[in-house]
């Protein structure tokens, strides 16, 4: 499978890339690792006239500590996130989610910015980014803006990015002190994509209670979502297996699950409940350390 012909540009700076994007408009697609885009090109699901290869633009990759957490450049590969001592220490949930993406080779090429911008409803990162209350930073000729993850993923393959914007970084605030986190997923056997992926972050409270919990769910519905009903059911409650099960039972409330060849809507609803319960229990276990 060879893609249809396209033009190829390799800008040296972000400003040049933004100018090219403005010049070519909807005929252009950005290329970084290419692990979301090239399969689309081969299958003729996308037919851009020009690819703008931003992979070598300086300053868009790497992981740095900020006052409130971590800043991860958009071009940082999944492997770099997975293996980073900084991420594993400060934000293990993100490293865990990165390590579950695709396979070794895919993680060597795919980038966090490319994955987020592609907004595949079965990708792993959205669950973790939602639970971590991360923000996605976009640049345009008019400047930069920060988009909360909760408002970034807007639909299947749709994000809040506007035409002409380039996603440049992901900012992840440090999780609350004492919290435990876990990402668990049921993977589609052939592709490794999430049929259901749940990222749970639990903050233990006094006397064996749960102070608060955050639950991000991917793969179940489009777009990925926060299971707010589950979170509300846990706040201030005893951290008992029963309480976890009752709260997790609400993990697919109010969403319309995807229904496809791999899993029916009912099965996805059930997976969301089961994986939410397991992820919450594991997060709690890790919080207790």
């Amino acid at each position: 499978m060879i893609p249809a012909p396209f033009g190829y540009k390799r800008p040296g700076t972000l400003a040049e890339a933004l100018a090219l994007l403005r010049e070519h408009g909807e005929d252009a697609r950005l290329l970084s690792g290419g692990h979301s885009l090239l399969p689309l090109l081969k299958a003729r699901l996308a037919r851009p006239g020009v690819l703008i290869d931003i992979a070598r633009i300086p300053g868009l990759s790497g992981i740095t500590e900020t006052a409130g957490g971590l800043r991860i450049g958009a071009l940082t590969t999944h492997h770099e996130v997975e293996a980073s001592p900084l991420v594993r220490e400060a934000c293990p949930l993100l490293a865990e989610a990165a390590g579950r993406i695709g396979d070794v080779q895919v993680r060597n090429r795919g980038t966090i910015g490319g994955s987020a911008a592609h907004a595949d409803p079965a990708s792993d990162y959205p669950a973790a980014l939602l639970a971590l209350e991360a923000a996605l930073v976009a640049s345009s000729p008019d400047g930069t803006r920060s988009i909360p993850a909760a408002g970034f993923f807007t639909g299947p393959y749709e994000s809040a990015l506007k035409p002409g914007e380039i996603l440049t970084a992901v900012e992840v605030p440090s999780p609350p002190r004492g919290s435990g986190e876990a990402y668990l997923k049921a993977a589609q056997q052939a592709s490794g994509f999430a049929v259901c992926g749940v990222a749970a972050l639990v903050v233990p409270g006094p006397g064996g209670t749960i102070a608060s919990a955050r639950v991000g769910v991917t793969g179940v519905a489009a777009p990925a979502y926060r299971a707010r009903k589950t979170e509300e059911a846990l706040a201030g409650k005893p951290a008992s297996p029963d309480a976890l099960r009752r709260a997790a039972a609400l993990a697919a409330e109010g969403v319309e699950p995807l229904d496809d060849f791999y899993a029916s809507a009912d099965f996805r609803r059930q997976l969301a409940r089961v994986y939410a319960e397991r992820a919450l229990a594991e997060a709690l276990r890790r919080a207790k350390g």
């Binding site: 396209f6 396979d103 080779q105």
Partner: protein, 156 residues
Amino acid sequence: MNISLCINGQSRAFDAEPRTLLVHLLRDEAGLTGTHIACETSVCGACTVLLDGKAVKSCTVLAVQAEGSEITTIEGLAPGGKLHPLQEQFWEKHGLQCGYCTPGMILAAWQLLERRPDPSEEEIRHGIEGNLCRCTGYQHIVDAIQAAAAQMGGKR
């Protein structure tokens, strides 16, 4: 477009369309047919090569993306015909039957041993998760990688 690559230690220049996939450039232009094509959808791993020391699926990399990079194919693991310990041990432990997946499998294993010189069986299975073998049931492949790790004694 002009594309310059260093393939198995040799500088090479090509003229190729932007849409040319790295695997096609390696096989059809560079004549290195040790890299196999199977699924063409970044699932099976048969086309795995090392791009600047990282295992990648060359069916999902444009040749232009690799401009200026160092590529190692299976041919590059055995300079002068001297087999790499991984190759020796795939031979020794029957890590292949039909051999179609073997070049990709060995380069994925190379990446694994580079990152984890003394991997557990579980780590080996995780390290080759991106490579499909339809003959061996994987056990002999795992054995071969374990034996190669021992032979290499923690070195690449």
